[in-house]
């Protein structure tokens, strides 16, 4: 059975560091329409925080741009799509590995956390065009996509 999108919100905000907190909190508020546990909501907040931070830091290199965040409720699953129109990732597979980073001041943990906490992660990226992360998390951890 293919569930329908029953509720959705699309957000677009400036690539400013204070909006990372906005993005993860707004996502948690929306996500609480499903019966996620407190721990699961914490996991969702972390994943959004990492994805939006990456869009600001790596995508837009801390200069002005717009980050998009789309949330869809599909049955008992929350779909989270974070995208930027920034630098893009040259080698997505490489970037997704633990400790792999192109910024010496960072640790390459973002994708590790997202993979650990989300049921599903798909990354689409094109150099010079931007990056989109498709994430899914179900209230029922048995469900895999």
């Amino acid at each position: 059975m293919q569930d329908q999108v029953t509720n959705s919100v699309r957000m677009q905000f400036c690539s400013r560091s204070e909006n990372v907190a906005f993005a993860r909190t707004a996502t948690a508020v929306f996500a609480s329409q499903l019966d996620f546990t407190i721990d699961q909501l914490d996991e969702i907040k972390l994943a959004v925080s990492e994805a939006v931070s990456n869009a600001i830091i790596h995508g837009y290199k801390n200069s002005p741009g717009m980050v998009r965040l789309e949330l869809n409720i599909i049955g008992r699953t929350l779909e989270i799509i974070v995208s930027d129109s920034g630098a893009g990732i040259a080698d997505v597979e490489w970037a997704m590995e633990a400790a792999h980073t192109t910024d010496a001041n960072r640790m390459g943990l973002g994708f590790v956390f997202i993979k650990e906490y989300m049921d599903d992660l798909v990354v689409q990226s094109e150099v010079g065009k931007g990056t989109t992360l498709f994430m899914r998390k179900s209230t029922d951890p048995q469900v895999r996509h």
Partner: protein, 111 residues
């Protein structure tokens, strides 16, 4: 994020209140690094009991301070993590290299 710093003997105690992410990590970093400047200050105690959230930017800021105290042959002690913060620090392997204490008093007693 509210940040309170106090020197207690050879230790710098930093009490954080708020979420530690890419927006708030820079001020933590600045205040910690300033407090760790004096050669007499060897250890860093970070009180996390009022930190409801931390992501990889926060962890990066903690690990950067860990490197500084290690060079001074001092210790980094984390105090009072909630479940969410403890989980990400565990996943990042941070809890294997730093010290952990229940209370600020116990942390200082150990240094």
């Amino acid at each position: 994020m509210e940040i309170n710093a106090e020197q207690v003997g050879s230790s710098l105690v930093i009490r954080l209140n708020g979420e530690l992410d890419m927006h708030t990590a820079p001020s933590f970093r600045q205040i910690a690094d300033a407090g760790l400047k004096p050669p007499a200050v060897k250890h860093l105690v970070v009180v996390l009991s009022e930190v409801p959230f931390m992501d990889s930017s926060g962890i990066g800021a903690l690990l950067g301070r860990y490197r500084i105290v290690r060079e001074k042959r001092g210790k980094l002690v984390l105090v009072g993590m909630n479940t969410a913060v403890r989980r990400v620090l565990e996943m990042a392997g941070v809890l294997e290299i730093v010290e952990v204490a229940d209370t600020e008093r116990r942390a200082l007693a150990r240094l």
